[in-house]
Symmetry: C2
Subunit: 417 residues, 2 copies
């Protein structure tokens, strides 16, 4: 049974979703602009709320990384506002007819993009997700129910209030953007079972959160985020290029899901490549862990274990393994990869094609850094998350992935034979 | 924890899926042809197994409708074989690149269709689903794990054995087509939690089965089938056309999900339309249940209750309601519909457009019978089921819906800035 807060917010969201689904693009864009201005105008209110969260987090003694994710500033609020304004310029997927064809007896069938309905987002510390997710859902014609982490509760309440007021002032339904204020685990679990209210639930956060959602949810879920990504440097690699790609994939932003966690190197080039890359990586502060063969060429902090190959470090640590062939590299990826982003560096045409064909992941790269798996880098102009499941959406999800389709059928009295 | 049968079959399916994913279309088509011939050649074996199931079902005293669904014959086996042969002619979705565009720094990104991996199908009495589902999954490059009802166990074992032998003889991996022979409820529940093995689970059957899957599954699910479908006869309807559509949608095959369950009639035409349609429906053996207004125009078997409007009869029963406007009809559909198939009969341009826009369902019709919501009628050439959820696929699902995408990225050494 749902508690009163969830049931009420669910009802209001459903009602709002119905109204949002047929709204003109212009109306939605006006609301987004108003939301952006409201965030900037009410910056003092948001910063004051954030200070309460920050003080509580510091008192609790949470780590520096978490504090940084939690902290808001004038600049970060401007980024949130700019993010909303950027959505205005993006094409509205709703109402687009992707195909129109003739079925039996010449009925005409069109596949039209329509909003999903009510989207649930469950996330952790970063309060900027509140504005990002709300804006994306609104532009795609969905109502959203947000459930952020307890550490960011005051910030999230303030942001949601500001956004919801702006939405209402734009003539859009209240209930378009709602936050669940009860941050207990029980309520989170209930949210995962809001069948009849939520059309989809998207978890954004660490492995623990995502696992909990997958295990408990009875509403449809889009899994996001876990990325144990590999770079395979083939015997036919341009080693200069390989160096740049490995450095970028590991160090440009190590704490994110599309950063590389394991480097696979073909034995034919290991002797030449490993000492060079090891030195560069050390200069970047990367700790290396390698298998027996790797340790013939370079010294590493510790031997790589089975567990290392399974781990998404999200840190300046890289597991290294020397392989005898591209097949062995692909086999390693198949065994340890999480089907997020996988890259090969090679100049060999056939090896490149085989890697693209055989490796199963949301994004498979030849001669580019895995760090490109991102809605903005892919050109979607926005991103609600990166799907690591196979249903509905795979890889970066933009506005289109926040919609579904309906079939519109034009007849002239056809009855089925 | 998974039992031994599920774990073993899961492992074999995963291995098979990996090999199937890169198989040429020709190889898959050869296997489908062999499967079709094998069904015909081994007809005696299949019919003998079916006799065991039929005798047991008769002894148990199961109803006539179920017995009919369970029964196989030479003609039904030929239909199954022809169904497999029809798949040969269909285009292979795997490997198709739907779009290729430039992302940041001119990385080239292609969206390529790839198999889902391992598909689980959980279904009830009809043994022909075994061959249909196996063929569809194979053509789309997936391994399949089937779990049929206990009543059809011997038939399903025989069919699966015949198909699996043919697959193996075609050089495809064993493990491509497997049946779970333990038909206990516990094993079914375990199957719903085969995370790491099943990429998707598709239930095909009645409301009870689908509810059980939605509640228990931790693997991604595609909900199918429940259809509380409406026909709304507008004040501007061509009443002759409305008559044909209502008769067709209700009586052409009442036991299926796209048959109509409720008739909504605009009050302006109720006096003219209801007596005529009521007589025709009575001639077809349809029992009518109507609201107060309806009963002013025609006599019905009983007054329609709240429960009637909620019920998917799957039978020759039709609930009737007179409405004051198209808005009231849409409101009724929004309240009671299951978002499957909804139809309006009207010659009014604006009303037709509003109905198409505002009614949220897998298929929304103007001037055609809801019975067209079907993979064959839609021109897909095949159907694994009709999705009534919003994620991944909505409406009839053919081969394409049994695939997902991966992004293939061609670079020239790009690193993220």
């Amino acid at each position: 049974m749902l508690n009163e807060e969830l049931r009420k917010k669910g009802e209001r969201a459903k009602e709002a979703a119905f109204l949002l689904s047929t709204l003109s693009t212009e109306k939605k864009n006006q609301a987004l602009s108003k939301m952006a201005s409201a965030l900037e105008e009410q910056q003092p209110k948001i910063l004051a709320a954030n200070e309460i969260d920050m003080a509580a987090a510091e008192a609790k003694g949470v780590g520096k990384a978490l504090l940084d994710r939690l902290a808001l500033s004038a600049a970060r609020i401007k980024d949130m506002a700019d993010g909303l304004r950027a959505l205005v310029a993006l094409p509205d997927p709703v109402g687009q007819v992707e195909a129109l064809w003739k079925g039996a007896q010449d009925i005409e069938i069109g596949r039209m993009r329509v909003p999903l309905g009510v989207v649930g987002i469950i996330y952790e510390a970063r309060p900027n997700v509140t504005a990002d997710a709300a804006g994306l859902c609104l532009k795609a014609g969905n109502a959203v129910i947000l459930r952020g982490g307890s550490d960011a509760l005051h910030s999230n309440i303030a942001i949601t209030e500001v956004l919801a007021e702006a939405v209402l002032a734009s003539g859009l339904p209240d209930g378009s953007i709602q936050l669940i204020e009860d941050t207990s685990r029980e309520t989170a679990t209930q949210m995962m079972k809001m069948n009849g209210y939520l059309d989809v639930l998207i978890p954004r956060g660490g492995a623990g959160l995502i696992r909990s959602v997958v295990e408990n949810a009875t509403v449809p879920v889009i899994e996001t985020g876990i990325g144990n990504c590999h770079i395979y440097v083939d015997s036919a690699a341009d080693l200069q290029m390989a160096e740049e790609i490995v450095i970028n994939a590991k160090t440009q932003r190590p704490g994110v899901c599309n950063a590389a966690e394991t480097l696979l190197v073909h034995e034919k080039v290991a002797g030449e490549f490993l000492p060079v890359i090891a030195e560069k990586l050390l200069q970047c502060g990367v700790e290396l862990r390698g298998d027996d063969l790797t340790r013939k060429y370079i010294s590493v902090v510790k031997a790589a274990t089975e567990e290392d190959y399974q781990t998404e470090y999200l840190d300046l640590i890289l597991a290294v393994k020397v392989v005898g062939s591209a097949e062995e590299a692909m086999e390693h990826i198949r065994r340890y990869g999480t089907k997020h982003s996988e890259a090969i560096v090679t100049e060999n045409y056939s090896t490149a094609r085989q890697f693209l064909q055989k490796v199963d992941a949301a994004a498979v790269y030849v001669n580019a850094s895995t760090r490109f798996t991102d809605g903005f880098q892919f050109g979607f102009g926005a991103e609600i998350g990166i799907s690591t499941q196979k249903l509905h959406a795979r890889g970066p999800m933009g506005l289109k992935e926040l919609t579904t389709v309906k079939h519109i059928v034009y007849g002239q009295g056809q009855a089925r034979k």
